[in-house]
Symmetry: C2
Subunit: 347 residues, 2 copies
Amino acid sequence: MPVKLKDLAQQLGLSQTTVSRALNGYPEVSEATRDRVLRGARRLHYQPNARAQRLATGRAMAIGHVIPTATKYALVNPIFADFMAGAGETYAGAGYDLLMSVVREEDELDAYRQMAARGSVDGVIVHGPRAEDPRIALLKSLGLPFVVHGRLDGPDQSYAWLDINNGRSFRRAADLLFDLGHRRLALLNGPEVMDFAARRRAGYLEAHRARAIPADPALMLADEMTEGFGFRAGLELLRSEAPPTAFLVSSYIIALGVRRAAETLGLSLGTDISLITHDDDLSYLNNRGEVPAFSATRSSAREAGRRCAEIVIERIAEPDSPPLQELWETELTIGLSTGPCRSTDAT
Amino acid sequence: MPVKLKDLAQQLGLSQTTVSRALNGYPEVSEATRDRVLRGARRLHYQPNARAQRLATGRAMAIGHVIPTATKYALVNPIFADFMAGAGETYAGAGYDLLMSVVREEDELDAYRQMAARGSVDGVIVHGPRAEDPRIALLKSLGLPFVVHGRLDGPDQSYAWLDINNGRSFRRAADLLFDLGHRRLALLNGPEVMDFAARRRAGYLEAHRARAIPADPALMLADEMTEGFGFRAGLELLRSEAPPTAFLVSSYIIALGVRRAAETLGLSLGTDISLITHDDDLSYLNNRGEVPAFSATRSSAREAGRRCAEIVIERIAEPDSPPLQELWETELTIGLSTGPCRSTDAT
DNA sequence: GTGAAAGCGCTAACAA
DNA sequence: TTGTTAGCGCTTTCAC
């Protein structure tokens, strides 16, 4: 039988109220009493019953993460895990639990509705927004505080988000490749209904426009982020009449496929062709069996998780405050797979 | 303001008691009344308040998963995500939430203690048991129902687990390679403090003993499951005096490294050397840019998740029932990376 | 078959 | 600064 507030109060000869206040850091309790209470709580191994606290306060002390099991837009990546770790850290520090709901894509909205209706969470983090994302409208109508990891265009920007500057990072990556003499850059992107992918494409195009280099639609492919896509696309492009001299790819998993395609054709990355992948997704790309930038990447994902958690907790406390919107700059990782253009027909 | 039980009862001219009973499927309520209640609940969009239910019943209606953020023994893999999806499915069907706690390894036991003390979960699933795993003893002493995904040797087998037959699958993989004429099989294993890794090693050794083929310790390596390990180990072994003709590796991520090592040395998988990885971890291994066995693997992980969830829910209902222990056979995936031994010195 | 009433263990007005 | 009291919204004896 666990010791409860009542027991503790009796032991100390105090009222439950005072004990509760002491424990919860209310200012009106005297330091002497607080000390006695904290000491007693420790001695009796008192742990408040979370269920009772939740009912009494009307708060769930939990944040929800709804993960659709879409095999296509694989959320399964180390970055995501680090994001969760970062968020989890912050939650733990703030006394929140992390409620995860893994559902089929078609049940996604219902999952939010249910969380809201049953009051099992106080707020949610939304991952990977898509164009015209219905989740945002839904969460607003439910009055459930939320923060979006990512963001999207639209007339209504009255919600909190945290995003990395996808457009600019791809713009800069393309610029770098142009500076190295490349002119035909393949873009292997994720599904362009995903906001991040659309922005990356925009950055790629912008770089072309800025130098008045025509962007060849034949070089711009988008599909699910798998090694298979990277391999097939890489093979096809490299074997084509006018192959690219460099690849700009949207995820390390696609990059793995490109690397294999290059190897299959006897081409060497960083020498014959260049390859850049987004920092946010970088992993096993260099040729040494090392994963040097990986940990940096992972820690940045962790930081994003932490920050998103902070933001959602803030919004729970102050639902009507102006929504925080943060755009983060990220570095692209060039690693060992990028070099000057060696192709003779690149002018 | 959400509609609550009281409102619903008033609307229907019934007592809260009857409405509650009707909703929760108690037998003593008449069919007519139950119908009226269910209809009314739907009409008014009644959703029970989870916090109140939890307090009243004394159950959390949640299952905990504690994930240590050990970068070394990366839990970050698609298999894990599918396991979670399977578990999540079952939870949702049974009205349970999934509470995830991502903590530093040293805080792992505390996470369980806290879950138990605060009553935020009714049971937990333990992942990846290690030799002499302290979590099991702890959970027993806490009286928190649990099921282990994986298992371990030890005098006390009085706990529920679900495991795949790691030993037998590696035994069979080695047998297959022997049948193909290979004699020098490298084993690139995960950390052998992990139960699954120890069992895989045992299976590998057993196959050797059965054919009276000496197992060369120089060919048996164990380290963290990274591409880097696979690459370095692959390179080193393949360049050695007496290289292996086949690799038996414990995870697809290690296999990626081996593949790269082979390619670096101009060797072709499936022709010059063979490579088998465990079904449970298979991913991007074949040479076609396809991931054929992947979905099968993933669905089996999902099934394991479902089953573990079922087991833990059963144990919550019947904590004193004899623990369920299930050993699953799995297939190894041979894919396109395995062929007869071509090496002349394999006799 | 239905209802009244007493909690579940805590928090938070309000009063002292 | 501390205590009294009334809930939070549901479940569950117990009585009818």
